[in-house]
Amino acid sequence: MSDIPSVPDDIKSLPWPEQFQTLAKHAKAPVLKAFYEAGCVAPDTPICEVPMVALDFETTGLESEAHSIVSIGLVPFTLDAISLSQAKHWIVRPKLPLHQMSVTFHGITHADIEKAPDLSQILEEVFASLNGRIPVVHFRHIERPFLDVALQYRLNEGIRFPLVDTMAIEAHLHPDRQPSFFKRMIGEKPVSIRLSDSRTRYGLPHYAAHNALIDAIATAELLQAQIQHHFSLQTPIGDLWL
């Protein structure tokens, strides 16, 4: 993929709203152009006014260069409400031959995958939910890099956007997650910042099923809880996005 033009550093260093404006001019693929044109809120916007979208992918592995997306779940939301009427879920066909997949997917069968579309066929639908919203994920090293690689592969262009990572927020709240040797000796457990363990700390319910959509919803709920417990509704989005 050496033929993909990389984004120059001077553009990368622009604040996100300006960066989106610039990228909108450079983007060739219509979906990306529309995405950037929809814009990005100013960094000083209070989080309670920011339209967001919780996003979760299931993938065949952890490396964006080697593995593929299997399913996408998303739900647009604000700090006030997570609207299930706009919740979306897709299964997509991964690029790898099926027999190479060692990962078991919750509730997704090989038959589902065989009749699933390629990501390129649903891009417009996916972007319809992303445009103008700040993505929220739990663990930022999956959704953004996987989407970037998948788009490079299909559109010959990558994607750049800011996101809020609920796991990073938990990591920030629990800097001393690993107990000292002494504390481990007396039985203290490390603080887990995995999605379900983090949710438990806020009294959020346990979801039995695991799929990209329910995990996206779970992530949105977690962010609502985190903001109300540790930040304020006026917290500028620029303090939280990464």
């Binding site: 299930l84 009294g203 990209a212 329910i214 709920e221 609502q224």
Partner: protein
């Protein structure tokens, strides 16, 4: 709906009113949900705001207030709020505040109104609240049992067959054969100015003809009035079939003349009811009376539990089941007394065998011990007669134990000389309990205030009942101390509508549906009944007699009735399920063994008990003697 939202849908359908909702509607509902996380203390809705949503508590807890600021209700997982404002299409009626960090599902007005139009269950549920919700739960159950919805009049298929009391035996038999009936009503023709129902004097049945006439080879010219049964037990045409069944069970008769005002409408027979309840507990009762030995009784006592489970599965209500089980227990006792008298000879002086506690109240279940006593005629001379009665009491008590009615741990049995006394001693017992009451002593004698004569000179027991009714209502101190004792056992409801659990013998966290539910309820109902000088023993009957006075408001009485019915039926179902699973039934229930429907309505029911206890405390200005 996205299939991936199933987790959210599955939570909804565990809770009323979504548990009975058609799938399509639940799916639409799920799709329309907006989720919000609110921290403890957050004001969710405020008075005067326009109502736009109904809320469902997914996790956490919410407090609902009256406009006055007074706490109205606490709502937990799986419960809804905000429906009233939507129903009125107006302003928020009851403001809500998060008591704990909560996750709320909010349902937009449009979806709410759509559900309201298209799902009758949902409409019923949101229109009524709390305790009225309990009521509809109770009546919904009852609607499914034909015995409870059909009236006796429906069982009458032919015109009354009757004859004057003056006919002769042979003529009576001929009429019965010609008309093809198993019972003939006998009318007094001499007082023609009386109405039909008043002229009804006696009945003669097929069985009477066999046992009284044929076996004793009576001449065919014997006047029928010599062998007919008098003092008839009748039933009103408007009664429900199950009441007819209870009447038959209680009195051990197989035919009931049906009265409609002044008119005699006909006779209903056991067989007519059995058509409604195919495997009737009535069969078991008649079988009991055919047994010639304790061994035989013991053998059929195994069927008691089957009969219990069957009634539960047929959706009988707790009154039916309690009465049927008491009827069966009473029949075992009566048959044992008959067998005992056959063995020991006729009693030297008349006596009455008395049932106490749940059997007397017609509220017996399968796990029960025997509580009984004997009232002897005042001509009783201990040195001459007591050996006989001790022997008889032992025979019955041992026989009952064989049949699964374990000995009373408190030794309240006729085998205890203290509870085998002449009527005059019993009168002095009751007079002393009522007129010189002591709280501790009353704790132990509580059980005697549910009494019923079941064999022999039952009028002795009636005499005690009227003595109690007469004296108890006049002794304020007695009522106060009884009230104090009744407050010892509180319902298992914590401050925040959570179940308060105790560790049972198997080290499981449970609550006891009898000790914390039905017992405190029947205790407090007994006190109000005693205060109104009622002679009723059954708790439902007691509530009826209380309602004739103005002691308690009608609404509160209905709440008590519904709470008793609901707690009883949950207890009964718990025992039936344990029996079906091959276990030994008890009264300890783990909350997780209950359906969300049962959990939610049990909380309502326990709340009723708790309020009724508050009323009792207020009325008698009494604190509990000791909390247990």
């Amino acid at each position: 709906m996205q299939a991936e939202l199933i987790d959210i849908r599955n939570h909804l359908i565990q809770h009323a009113p979504f548990d009975d909702m058609p799938e399509e509607l639940v799916n639409q509902l799920t799709e329309s949900i907006e989720i919000s996380y609110v921290r403890a203390g957050t004001q969710i809705t405020e008075t005067g705001q326009i109502s736009t949503r109904m809320y469902y508590v997914r996790s956490g807890a919410v407090e609902i207030f009256r406009r006055s600021g007074e706490l109205y209700n606490r709502i937990g997982e799986g419960e809804i709020f905000g429906q009233f404002g939507l129903l009125m299409r107006g302003q928020v009626r009851f403001p809500a505040r998060a008591l704990e960090d909560s996750l709320l599902y909010s349902i937009p007005a449009e979806t709410f109104h759509n559900l309201f139009e298209n799902d009758e269950n949902f409409a019923d549920f949101v229109e009524i609240e709390d305790r009225s919700r309990l009521r509809s739960a109770v009546s919904r159950r009852e609607k499914s049992n034909a015995l409870m919805t059909s009236r006796v009049s429906r069982l009458i298929s032919r015109k009354t067959v009757s004859a004057p009391t003056t006919v002769r035996l042979q003529e009576a038999a001929r009429i019965m054969t010609d008309q093809g009936v198993s019972a003939l009503l006998l009318m007094d023709e001499e007082c023609g100015d009386k109405c039909e129902s008043d002229r009804l004097t006696g009945i003669i049945t097929d069985k009477d003809l066999r046992t009284r006439a044929v076996t004793e080879a009576l001449p065919s010219e014997t006047p029928i009035s010599e062998i007919m049964t008098e003092g008839l037990i009748t039933i009103r045409a408007s009664s429900y079939v199950f009441e007819a069944m209870l009447t038959m069970l209680h009195n051990n008769v197989h035919h009931l003349p049906v009265i409609d005002g002044e008119e005699v409408r006909g006779v209903i027979a056991l067989a007519d009811i059995v058509r409604y309840e195919s495997q009737s507990s009535l069969y078991l009762v008649s079988n009991i009376f055919h047994q010639q030995h304790v061994k035989g009784l013991k053998k059929i006592s195994n069927d008691v539990r089957d009969s219990f489970v069957r009634m539960v599965n047929e959706d009988a209500n707790s009154h039916m089941i309690g009465s049927a089980m008491a009827g069966i227990g009473r029949s075992f006792t009566q048959r044992l007394l008959e067998l005992g008298e056959e063995k020991l000879g006729p009693p030297p002086v008349p006596y009455c065998f008395m049932a106490l506690g749940s059997m007397a109240r017609d509220e017996q279940l399968v796990v029960t011990d025997q509580d009984n006593a004997m009232i002897l005629d005042d001509s009783f001379v201990p040195e001459e007669h007591d050996a006989y009665f001790l022997e008889l009491a032992k025979f019955v008590s041992d026989g009952l134990a064989e049949c699964g009615y374990t000995y009373c741990t408190g030794d309240i049995m006729a085998t205890n000389p203290k509870w085998r006394q002449p009527l005059k001693v019993w009168r002095s017992y009751f007079t002393d309990w009522i007129e010189n009451p002591k709280a501790e002593a009353l704790l132990n004698s509580n059980i005697f205030f549910d009494l019923d004569g079941i064999y022999g000179r039952t009028e002795f027991a009636e005499e005690l009942k009227s003595l109690v009714a007469d004296k108890a209502s006049k002794s304020q101190l007695f009522l106060t101390l009884m009230a104090r004792n009744a407050l010892n056992r509180t319902p298992p409801l914590g401050f925040f509508r959570t179940f308060v659990l105790e560790e049972d013998g198997k080290h499981q966290k449970t609550f006891n549906l009898k000790r914390r539910g039905t017992a405190p309820l029947s205790d407090l109902i007994r006190i109000h009944a005693l205060a109104c000088a009622s002679q009723a023993q059954n708790s439902f009957e007691r509530l009826k007699s209380i309602s004739k006075t103005k002691l308690i408001m009608d609404d509160d009485l209905s709440n008590l009735r519904d709470a008793l019915e609901f707690i009883s039926i949950v207890r009964i179902r718990h025992q039936a399920l344990t029996l079906e699973a091959g276990g030994e039934p008890d009264n300890n229930v783990r909350p997780e063994d209950l359906s969300p429907f049962e959990r939610s309505h049990l909380k309502d029911a326990f709340q009723v008990v708790s309020n009724a206890q508050k009323f009792l405390r207020f009325r008698y200005n009494s604190q509990a003697t000791r909390h247990v």
